[in-house]
């Protein structure tokens, strides 16, 4: 008798860690997440006096030290898509499903592996970016910096873990639905950037009633340390988390029902 925890989960983890591309993607995500953040911290620290007055009074030290995380997010989402699209591309999914006929169990194992990896990467990258970024900002004594106990900081660091896990899972679900890496990655990136690109052009009611419920703006409620309750897309951390979880759950349920209906998964 094989089980999810004893068999399917370890097998999925072996699959993911035994291809070099996984590690290449992780290193790329690290470089982008932390590297860009640190670079931006240096630029901010050097040009602090030149910033507009309102940006200095409400200075977002945490956000400044983690700007690269949004780019790293895209790379981690790619990891989620690759975790399954390669099986459809090679046809190896048939071997997977013949060893483990339960589609639900296969999808659950993949989801747990992707979510755990996304959470660890998000939290670790955010923490590195934050700690190094604060140290860099502190080079200039005029810049106000934060410690780990600063307002919203811990929520933000863990929030990045949740956000990377959630987008990894969305990408995984899209990869199962589309059986293609390119389609899944494009869809996930679209979801990440829709709020950023459309935001400014939409009327306020659309921003607060539609845009706010997109996964990226919902996730921001967790990963942004310094939330602005006056912002049109403000939901607060709890509603944001609930919205994000709903997106992920719906995507995984759709993916599972397709796996069940299709021949060869």
């Amino acid at each position: 008798m094989t089980t999810l925890v004893g068999n399917t989960l370890p097998a999925e983890w072996t699959k993911l860690r035994s291809v070099r591309s996984t590690w290449v993607v992780i290193i790329a995500a690290l470089v982008v997440s932390v590297g860009f953040s640190v670079l931006f911290s240096f630029l901010t620290e050097a040009n602090y006096a030149g910033l507009p007055a309102d940006q200095r009074t409400g200075f977002d030290a945490a956000g400044t030290s983690m700007v690269g995380m949004n780019l790293g997010l895209i790379i981690v989402a790619v990891l989620g898509a690759l975790a399954t699209s390669s099986e459809y591309a090679t046809g190896m999914i048939r071997l997977t499903l013949s060893i483990t006929p339960g589609r639900g169990r296969v999808l659950a194992a993949k989801a747990i592996v992707v979510a755990a990896l996304g959470f660890v990467l998000g939290t670790v990258f955010a923490t590195l970016a934050f700690l190094i970024g604060q140290a860099v900002l502190g080079i200039n004594p005029a810049v106000p910096t934060l410690g780990l106990t600063g307002p919203g900081v811990l929520r933000s660091l863990l929030g990045w873990g949740v956000e990377m896990a959630a987008f990894g899972l969305l990408a995984l679900a899209f990869a199962v639905m589309m059986r293609s890496a390119a389609g899944a990655i494009a869809t996930t990136i679209g979801l990440i950037f829709v709020p950023a690109i459309l935001g400014a052009f939409l009327p306020p009611w659309a921003q607060s009633h539609v845009l706010a419920y997109f996964p990226a703006s919902a996730a921001e409620q967790l990963s942004t340390a310094q939330l602005d309750p006056a912002a049109a897309t403000y939901l607060g951390p709890l509603t944001g988390a609930g919205t994000l979880v709903t997106w992920v759950a719906v995507a995984l349920v759709v993916a599972l029902s397709l796996m069940g209906k299709r021949d060869s998964g």
């Binding site: 008798m1 094989t2 004893g6 068999n7 399917t8 370890p10 097998a11 999925e12 072996t14 699959k15 035994s18 291809v19 070099r20 591309s21 390669s86 099986e87 090679t90 046809g91 190896m92 048939r94 071997l95 997977t96 499903l97 013949s98 060893i99 483990t100 006929p101 339960g102 021949d263 060869s264 998964g265």
Partner: protein, 305 residues
């Protein structure tokens, strides 16, 4: 061990498998024969619970595949040897399969050696030759030491040594009491390996019988006789129940009488014989004959739609 009952699979308007029933016995190699597109791979995918039958059912040891508690220990399958991720080493590939199937890790090394891949265990699968892919696929199928084995075109792309290896392996596996089901459209390959054949054409069952019986087609197994007095000999043979046809080169093709009998009759009647050769039907010929017939019986099938 594997029992198909009225198994049918349609993809849109294509009927890939059409009312197929068979019951595979352990201890013998059963060849699964049919021309391209006959529905062999589709049948195998349905056995493995990968494709869902449109109607009918197939069970392994009385159970539906989905209900097997540890499928890798029950059924080993090689469907498409190249359907593996090329970036993984052979060892890591078998390692995840073993983990997923609940097989102890040491078995990985055993099947690698068994398949002759012990020396390339740490090489990326993507660098393998087709023959090495096939060997890896067979190693994967043997991992769970299963009582049932399915091989879809396992000799595809193998060199003579590889073909010999697979033949011997399949016969050994059957001799150990396992159920071995091997598809092929290379008829002469089956002739060397299979004891029993299930033959399909256009998704329908054409034959399910011992291979010897399948090859004993009257028109195909005959004795070739060359005689300077062929006409007289033909009359003699026809007189005792032989069926004689005259070939283009003047030789007689005789069925219903064996070579010693024909030789004795010729001697008895003082008729010289220059050549007396039993011609055994090749499986190839029997197969062509049967599947051609299956098409001929339904000449309007295409036009009906």
């Amino acid at each position: 061990m594997i029992k198909a009952q009225d198994l049918t699979k349609r993809y849109g308007t294509t009927t890939a498998v059409d009312g197929l029933s068979f019951d595979l016995k352990p201890g013998v190699v059963t060849g699964f024969l049919g021309p391209n597109g006959a529905g062999k791979s589709t049948t195998m995918r349905m056995i493995l619970g990968l494709d869902r039958p449109t109607s009918g059912s197939v069970t392994v040891g009385g159970k539906s595949y989905q209900d097997l508690p540890a499928p890798l220990r029950e059924v080993g399958a090689l469907l498409d040897a190249k359907a593996v991720h090329g970036a993984r080493t052979a060892y890591r590939h078998l390692q995840w399969v073993a983990q997923a199937g609940g097989i102890p890790r040491r078995r990985v090394g055993e099947v690698l050696d068994l398949a002759g891949l012990g020396g390339v265990a740490d090489r990326k699968v993507g660098s393998f030759s087709l023959g090495m892919y096939q060997r890896l696929g067979i190693a994967t199928a043997l991992l769970g030491d299963p009582p049932v084995l399915l091989f879809d075109e396992p000799v595809n792309g193998l060199d003579p040594e590889g073909i010999f290896w697979i033949r011997t392996l399949m016969r050994d596996l059957a001799a150990e009491g396992r159920t071995v089901f091997v598809s092929s459209h290379l008829m002469n390959e089956m002739q060397e390996t299979a004891e029993h054949v299930v033959v399909i054409g256009r998704g329908e069952l054409i034959a399910d019988m011992p291979i010897t019986e399948f090859m004993q087609r009257d028109s195909l197994s005959h004795v070739r006789v060359v005689s300077p007095r062929a006409d007289e000999l033909a009359r003699v043979l026809a007189g005792v129940g032989g069926e004689v046809t005259r070939g283009a080169d003047g030789a007689l093709a005789v069925t219903g009488l064996d070579a010693p009998k024909i030789g004795d009759l010729a001697l008895e009647h003082g008729l010289g014989v220059h050549e007396l050769t039993p011609v055994r039907a090749s499986l190839e010929a029997a197969f062509m004959d049967r599947t051609r017939a299956s098409v001929q019986y339904r000449p309007t099938a295409e036009g009906d739609q």
